[in-house]
């Protein structure tokens, strides 16, 4: 009752002064808000003291599962760089400007151009699939802006954009570190020798950039390693019936199966293969391009258990991110806690790209000097979340090769938070990575 009276009293008597007070208070608050805001703005406006980094990845559209974890990683990195970055004896504020390609290559190219021309970025970072990395690299190459990228086979990046084998590198500004055909050969031969099979490999490679590169380069290498390749030939993405291919694999009794499909096609194929009785004879089903992320595997239900995959990063990689100081397990657990979703290998890959990019900015003499930064990238040799990135040894200039690790999706232990566990089964490409489990036969 007293309280009510008190409020009433304020209401009736304090109207006039309170309005004046309010205006005064608002003015003060506005000033207070404006001051630090103003100084931040002033800092941002002084291009000499701020490093601007463009970050382009696919967050929406068909490739969205690649970019899904990027906001989390960017938040961690921004936090780590809140007080800026010191390079060449100077302290710089850091601004990471991230953009979403919506899985569209022409949009990726436009975004890169606008980041270059309007945002005046000092370094461009691009990640995940040729549809993102190639157009961004091309735009940077044309505009003379240093660009570092990752997560697509390096052959498709280097040769796919016009470089010729044996000729000097045509690229001056773009640099790429990722796995390649050699990484797959090492991982697969190690993985496929773990269980006895008839060494006959049924391959299902689509008629697209990845599929054709793999058919031309990987299949002959596997044949050299003593496997018989049964290839029914390229098929188009979006095919909804695989009767012909399954019949061929059954007739040839292929106990190993290898494929590079887009995820929806694999689900259709694998269910049909189960229908036609082929999956019961398969001992190792090795997936690439699909099978990277837990959600695609969960969608397969019981057919998803014991499919083998490759990993460009795994939470048990024994490395820490120099930029954030996080270990693999800490990064994965942090993501699971923040999002409620299972960790994916993209977390470490995105972190590794940022690690490498900022390592270059740190070590270069003047991070605002684009030519100098490009030179630093060309000889960069640094540790990242995903292991060593070394541009000095590359098979070709502008490229550093990183490993692929053999892994398998197994049924999670009872009581686990998620349905599937991703375990490391072979480590031929990087012996420092600990093997966590034995490869289990699919059927």
């Amino acid at each position: 009752m007293q309280e009510a009276n008190a409020t009433h009293a304020v209401d009736s008597t304090g109207e006039g002064p309170s309005r004046r007070e309010f205006i005064r208070a608002a003015g003060a608050a506005g000033l207070a808000l404006a001051l630090p805001g103003g100084s931040l703005w002033a800092q941002g406006a002084d291009p000499k003291n701020t490093l601007r980094i463009g970050f382009i990845s696919p967050r929406t559209g068909p490739l969205a599962s690649f970019g899904e974890t990027d906001p989390h990683v960017l938040t961690l990195v921004r936090k780590a760089l809140a007080s800026g970055l010191s390079s060449g004896g100077r302290q710089y504020a850091v601004q990471i400007i991230d953009r979403d390609t919506q899985s569209d290559p022409s949009r990726a190219s436009q975004l890169a151009k606008s980041l270059i021309n309007e945002e005046k970025v000092d370094l461009m970072l691009a990640i995940s699939t040729p549809e993102v990395v190639n157009p961004v690299s091309d735009a940077c190459e044309a505009a003379g802006v240093p660009c570092l990228s990752s997560v697509m086979p390096w052959e498709a990046w280097y040769f796919g954009r016009g470089a010729k084998p044996g000729a000097p590198s045509p690229y001056k500004w773009s640099f790429h570190f990722s796995f390649g055909v050699g990484s797959f050969v090492r991982a697969y031969t190690a993985q496929w020798n773990l269980i006895p099979t008839n060494r006959k490999v049924g391959v299902l490679y689509p008629n697209d950039a990845d599929g054709n590169a793999i058919r031309a380069n990987l299949a002959p290498e596997l044949a050299k390693a003593g496997f018989t390749i049964v290839d029914p030939g390229p098929y188009e993405n979006g095919t909804t019936d695989y009767t012909a291919q399954i019949a061929r694999f059954k007739a040839e009794k292929c106990e190993i199966f290898n494929t590079f499909p887009i995820p929806p096609d694999f689900a259709t194929f694998w269910r049909q293969a189960a229908q036609q009785g082929y999956t019961k004879t398969v001992k190792i089903a090795q997936l690439a391009k699909t099978g990277l992320f837990p959600s695609t595997m969960e969608a397969l239900g019981n057919l998803g258990f014991n499919l083998a995959g490759g990993a460009y990063w795994h939470k048990h990689f024994p490395y820490t991110s120099p930029l954030t100081g996080l270990s693999g397990v800490a990064l994965a657990d942090g993501y699971e806690a923040a999002s409620g979703k299972q960790w994916t290998q993209q977390l470490g890959a995105t972190m590794a790209l940022l690690d490498a990019g900022f390592a270059a900015l740190k070590t270069t003499a003047d991070p605002k000097n684009k030519a100098g930064l490009a030179k630093t990238l060309g000889t960069l040799n640094t540790d990242t979340m995903a292991g060593k990135v070394d541009f000095t040894k590359g098979p070709v200039p502008n490229v550093a090769v990183t490993p692929i690790i053999g892994a398998q999706w197994v049924k999670a232990k009872p009581g686990a938070k998620h349905k599937l566990d991703f375990v490391i089964t072979s480590n031929a490409d990087d012996a420092k990575v600990p093997v966590g489990a034995k490869l289990i036969s699919y059927s």
């Binding site: 969205a64 098929y235 009767t243 291919q245 929806p264 689900a267 969608a299």
Partner: protein, 297 residues
């Protein structure tokens, strides 16, 4: 070859089910609903949500999802088609294209990028099969989908020819103004037709989610096959749509049998060939050919 034909036939059943609603709507209102595939994905997500969150069987939940989908259809007519039809024949196509984009991105906002499937919720039915002599396997789900598409198209046909509502729909489709003169509320009829179309879309969404996977952007790629089935079978004819689906399915399956790359090629090839034949017509082509030969001689 027998296997390829059989699997193609069953695949055709799936295409026909996918195309049923599209064909029906086109027959009644001359509207090509480009949001058809995306709406099938909406139904799939609704069923998935019920199965994943509450462990409810997708087959049992079919009516639960079908009713709101039908209501959504009615809303779709009232809010989008009825307005855009006033702007001419092309406007509804553009409006439905815009709607598809909105639906796809709204789904992405709500459900994220993950790939989903309903197959894990129906036990092993998604890949159980019957073995036939000659090492031929027939998927049980594929047979079920084929039977469903027969039932849906047959049911729609029966409804059109034997019920009062069907007579009114046919009247409105034939001549909307004349139907209005004799007391048919065409506005209402169109609303009901769109509702029926979206009810069948629910079945199509279920079939898609059971046999493959789906994600927020899976709609447009499904639309292509449905659209081709409608065109091959003759726009607006329901049994024609079944025939169209089967022709498309067999063409693809046989195409893939000859060469794995022939799958989509053969399907699109048959589609184009029939489209050209329809546009220029058999007799007209024959006359042209004769004229051409005459000119040479």
């Amino acid at each position: 070859m027998t296997n390829a034909l059989l699997q193609g036939l069953l695949l055709g059943g799936y295409y026909a089910l996918l195309a049923a609603g599209l064909s029906f709507l086109f027959g009644v209102m001359r509207i090509i609903n480009l949001a058809h595939g995306s709406l099938a994905v909406v139904a799939a997500f609704a069923l998935w949500l019920l199965a994943d969150r509450y462990g409810l069987d997708p087959f049992l939940m079919l009516p639960v999802v079908m009713v709101p989908m039908a209501f959504l259809g009615w809303l779709l007519y009232r809010l989008v088609f009825a307005r855009s039809l006033r702007g001419g024949a092309l406007t509804p196509i553009l409006a439905s294209f815009g709607l598809a984009t909105v639906v796809d991105n709204a789904l992405f906002q709500g459900f994220g990028a993950d790939t989903r499937s309903l197959a894990p919720y129906i036990g092993d039915l998604a890949y159980e099969s019957w073995a036939l002599p000659g090492d031929i396997f027939v998927g049980q789900l594929a047979v079920l989908v084929f039977a469903t598409s027969l039932a849906v198209l047959g049911g729609l046909q029966l409804m059109l020819s034997a019920t009062t509502l069907g007579r009114r729909i046919r009247a409105a489709a034939e001549d909307a103004d004349a139907a209005g003169l004799v007391g048919v509320d065409t506005h209402r009829i169109y609303g009901i037709a769109t509702a029926i179309s979206l009810a069948t879309v629910t079945l199509a969404g279920l079939a898609m989610a059971l046999r493959a996977t789906f994600d927020p952007y899976a709609g447009p790629s499904q639309l292509i096959f449905a659209f081709e089935a409608v065109v091959i079978g003759g726009a607006g004819s329901l049994w024609g749509t079944l025939a169209g689906g089967v022709i498309l399915g067999i063409a693809q399956s046989v195409g893939a049998h000859i060469n794995p790359q022939g799958f989509l090629l053969a399907g699109h090839g048959v589609f184009l060939a029939i489209l050209v034949f329809r546009v220029y017509g058999g007799p007209a082509l024959a006359t042209r050919w004769r004229n051409l030969k005459g000119a040479k001689a």
